[in-house]
C-alpha cells in the first residue's frame, strides 16, 4: 500500500488480503483452457490462476511489461483465459456467454465467475443467472461474501438469502464459512466436476473476511474488529500451521524472495510510449 503513496503504483487497487483461500481453493482445480471471469478484487484470482507476479506489479506501475501493457491497471486484467473488469456484476453475463460459447464448441471447458456480496445489488447478475440456468451454461458462480461492500455491511445491502438467489433460478448452491483452503478445495472439486460433466451451472457461496480497506484507505471498521478477523480467519496462518516451523520459514522466505525479485524487475521495466496507445 505504501507504494501507492510513494507513487510507485498509480491509481487504486482492491486487495484480497484475507480472501486468498477462495481463489486458490477454486482455481487450482482448473484445467488448461478453463475460463476465469474476475472482478475489481482480481489480484488474488489472477495469481491463483497462475498469472505472473512481475507482470502484475508492472501493470500496477503502468509499465509496458504489464499484463495489459499498463492499459488496464489493477482491475482490468487479461491473460490466457483470465478476464477481469471493474464494473460490478457486468462481467457475469459475459462469463455466462463465454461458458455458452465453449459449450457450443463442445470442448468440455468450465468457466468460473467471481462475484462479491456487493455485486448482488446489480440487476444484470440476475439476468445472467436466469440465462445460465435456462441454457445450462457450464459455469461455476463463486460468490465471495466478505460481509462488506466498500463500507456498507452486508445486512444493509442484501435482503433475504444469498444461496436462495441461485436456487431460485434452479442453480444448485453450496455454501461454506471458512478460511481454510483445504475445506474449500474439497467442495470446489465436486462443484467443478459437476459443472464439467453435467454441462450445467453451479453456485458456491464462500463466507470470507476482508482484512484491508475496500481500496486504499476507506475502511470504517474498528481496528479491533479487523485484528480479530486477522487472528481467527487468516487463510495463510491456517494453512501454515500444518507445516513444521522450519518448513514454514523456508516457504515464507522463498515467497518473499520471489515477490522482491518480481517487484524489482517491474520497477526497472520501461513505461509505454504514447504512440503505442492507439
Amino acid at each position: 500500500m505504501e507504494n501507492f503513496s510513494k507513487g510507485v503504483f498509480t491509481g487504486t487497487t482492491h486487495t484480497c488480503l484475507g480472501q486468498e483461500a477462495n481463489a486458490v481453493g477454486v482455481l487450482s482445480l482448473l484445467h488448461p483452457g478453463d475460463i476465469v471471469a474476475s472482478n475489481h478484487r482480481s489480484h488474488g484470482h489472477f495469481l491463483a490462476y497462475g498469472g505472473d507476479l512481475r507482470a502484475l506489479f508492472a501493470e500496477l506501475m503502468g509499465k509496458s511489461t504489464g499484463v495489459c501493457a499498463g492499459r488496464g491497471g489493477s482491475q482490468h486484467l487479461q491473460w490466457k483465459d483470465f478476464y477481469s473488469n471493474g464494473i460490478q456484476g457486468g462481467i457475469v453475463p459475459i462469463a455466462t456467454g463465454m461458458a455458452l460459447a465453449e459449450k457450443f464448441k463442445k470442448g468440455g471447458l468450465v468457466t468460473v465467475a467471481f462475484l462479491g456480496d456487493g455485486t448482488l445489488g446489480e440487476g444484470v447478475v440476475y439476468e445472467a443467472l436466469n440465462m445460465a440456468s435456462l441454457w445450462s451454461a457450464p459455469i461455476l458462480f463463486v460468490l465471495e461474501n466478505n460481509h462488506i461492500a466498500q463500507t456498507t455491511p452486508v445486512d444493509r445491502a442484501v435482503a433475504g438469502s444469498i444461496p436462495a438467489r441461485f436456487t431460485a433460478f434452479g442453480i444448485p448452491c453450496s455454501e461454506l464459512d471458512t478460511s481454510d483452503v483445504l475445506e474449500i478445495l474439497l467442495v470446489a472439486e465436486r462443484l467443478i466436476q459437476e459443472v464439467r460433466t453435467l454441462t450445467a451451472p453451479r453456485a458456491f457461496v464462500l463466507h470470507t473476511c476482508r482484512f484491508s480497506p475496500h481500496s486504499k484507505g476507506d475502511d470504517t471498521r474498528s481496528t479491533q474488529e479487523i485484528e480479530c478477523l486477522r487472528k481467527e480467519r487468516d487463510p495463510i496462518s491456517i494453512l501454515a500451521s500444518r507445516l513444521e516451523h522450519s518448513r514454514r520459514l523456508e516457504v515464507e522466505s522463498e515467497v518473499d524472495n520471489q515477490i522482491t525479485q518480481a517487484f524489482e524487475k517491474a520497477l526497472s521495466d520501461p513505461f509505454p510510449s504514447l504512440a503505442s496507445y492507439v
Binding site: I35, C68, A69, R71, G72, H76, Q78, W79, Y83, N85, I87, G90, I91, V92, P93, I94, A95, T96, G97, M98, A99, L100, A101, E102, F104, K105, G123, V124, E127, A128, N130, M131, L134, W135, V278
Partner: protein, 379 residues
C-alpha cells in the same frame, strides 16, 4: 469468401422493381446468408423464433433453418448483450437484436464499459466481433418510449462503429460484412420505416447522379481535428458516404447531409425544391456515423458554401451539432451558412398529428431549405 463492402453504385435499371428486395427482405437474407456461411454466427434476441420471427420480422424463417443458432431470449437486453460479448470473446460471431432502439439505454453499460473496452483495455489481446441490430425511429404512433432515435448517445464512443443504412444501397450487404468480417462491436441502426422500401429502387433514385466515397480517413486532404481516428480498431472498416445530385440540374446551392430513413425524406424534399422552387440540393448520405469521416461532405460544402444537417434524433447536442462544428473548425472548408434540422427537444407524442410536428418531415426540410437559400452569405 470475399465480400465487397464498397458496393458499386450501379443499379440494374433494366430490371423491373419487383425483382429488387425490400430493406426487410435484404436484411433477412443477409442474416440467412451469414448463418449459412459461417457456423460461428449465432443470433440472440427477444421473440425471434418462428412463426413470429421477431417483432419486425427481420429474423423470420431463421429459427426454422438454423434451430440451434437462433436463441430466443428472456427480456434482458443488458444480459443478452453481455452473453453475446462473452461469446464473441470466445470466437463466435454473435448478432443481437434489440427489439426497439429505445431499449439501447438498457445495454449502454454492456456496450460502453465492456464490449468496446476489451480490445483496447486488454492491449489488443482479444477481439469482440459483435453486431447489435436495432429498429429505430418514429412515425408509427408508438409514443414516447418506442419511437425514439437514440443513436446519438452511442456516437463517439471509442471502439464502437455505428452504421445506419438507408434504402439507397443494399443494407443487407453492409450487415453481412459487419457480421462476417468485423472484429469489433458494431451498432447497426435500422429505421423502422425503411423496412418496406425497395432497395436501390431505380424508379426512386434514378433521377440522381450518385457517387460513393472510398471513405478512407483523411483521403480528401482536409486537416482533421486531433480526436478523429485515434482508435486503431476503427480504422480498418469504413462504410462509404454517398453524394447525390439531380441529373442534368444546375449546380447545387445547398448541401444537405442526413442518414437512415431521413435520407428518403430528404430525397423527396430535394425533388420538390427542384421542381417547385428551382433550388438544387446536393445530398450527402453517410452509412457510417461513428467513427466518421467528413471529407466527402466538405467537398460538397466547398461547392455550395451552405450546409444543412437533418436528423430524426433530438435537436440539441446531437449528430448535426458535431458535423457543423467539424465543418466550422476544419481549415479549407468554406462554410457561409450552417443550419440544423432535427426533432424538437421533446418526448415523442403518441398522437399522430403531434408526432408529425415533432419529427422532421419533407415539409420541414423544404421550408428550411427555402429559408437557407434566402440567407445572404455571411461576410
Amino acid at each position: 469468401m470475399i465480400l465487397v463492402y464498397f458496393i458499386p453504385v450501379h443499379f440494374p435499371t433494366n430490371l423491373p422493381n419487383s425483382i429488387m428486395p425490400t430493406v426487410l427482405n435484404s436484411l433477412n437474407s443477409a442474416l440467412h446468408q451469414a448463418l449459412a456461411t459461417d457456423k460461428r454466427v449465432i443470433l440472440l434476441g427477444e421473440d425471434l423464433l418462428d412463426p413470429y420471427g421477431g417483432a419486425f420480422k427481420v429474423t423470420q424463417g431463421l429459427s426454422t433453418d438454423f434451430p440451434n443458432r437462433v436463441l430466443t431470449t428472456p427480456i434482458s437486453e443488458a444480459g443478452i448483450v453481455g452473453v453475446a460479448t462473452g461469446m464473441a470473446l470466445r470466437g463466435l460471431r454473435p448478432v443481437v437484436e434489440i427489439m426497439f432502439g429505445d431499449f439501447l439505454t438498457l445495454i449502454a453499460d454492456q456496450v460502453i464499459n465492456h464490449a468496446v473496452k476489451f480490445h483496447w483495455m486488454y492491449n489488443h489481446q482479444v477481439t469482440v466481433p459483435l453486431v447489435i441490430r436495432s429498429p429505430m425511429g418514429g412515425r408509427r404512433g408508438y409514443g414516447p418510449t418506442h419511437s425514439q432515435t437514440l443513436e446519438k448517445y452511442f456516437l463517439g464512443v471509442p471502439g464502437l462503429r455505428v452504421l445506419a443504412p438507408c434504402s439507397l444501397v443494399d443494407p443487407g450487404n453492409i450487415l453481412l460484412q459487419a457480421i462476417l468480417e468485423g472484429d469489433h462491436p458494431t451498432l447497426f441502426i435500422e429505421n423502422k420505416l425503411l423496412y418496406p422500401l425497395t432497395v436501390a429502387d431505380s424508379a426512386v433514385w434514378d433521377e440522381f447522379q450518385i457517387s460513393a466515397s472510398e471513405a478512407q480517413p483523411n483521403k480528401q486532404g482536409f486537416s482533421l481535428s486531433e480526436s478523429e481516428d485515434l482508435y486503431e480498431s476503427q480504422k480498418s472498416f469504413h462504410a462509404p458516404t454517398y453524394t447525390l445530385s439531380l441529373r442534368g440540374a444546375p449546380s447545387p446551392s445547398i448541401t444537405l447531409t442526413t442518414y437512415g430513413y431521413m435520407a428518403e425524406l430528404a430525397r423527396q424534399a430535394a425533388l420538390r425544391l427542384a421542381y417547385e422552387f428551382e433550388i438544387f440540393v446536393e445530398l450527402v448520405i453517410p452509412i457510417q456515423l461513428s467513427p466518421f469521416n467528413l471529407g466527402v461532405l466538405f467537398e460538397s460544402v466547398n461547392r455550395t458554401r451552405k450546409l444543412l444537417t437533418v436528423e430524426e434524433g433530438t435537436h440539441d447536442l446531437g449528430w448535426g451539432a458535431e458535423v457543423l462544428a467539424r465543418a466550422a473548425e476544419t481549415s479549407g472548408v468554406n462554410l457561409d451558412v450552417a443550419s440544423r434540422l432535427a426533432a424538437v427537444n421533446l418526448p415523442i407524442p403518441a398522437s399522430g398529428s403531434l408526432e408529425a410536428e415533432v419529427l422532421p418531415s419533407v415539409d420541414h426540410v423544404v421550408d428550411r431549405c427555402l429559408e437557407i437559400s434566402k440567407r445572404s452569405i455571411r461576410l
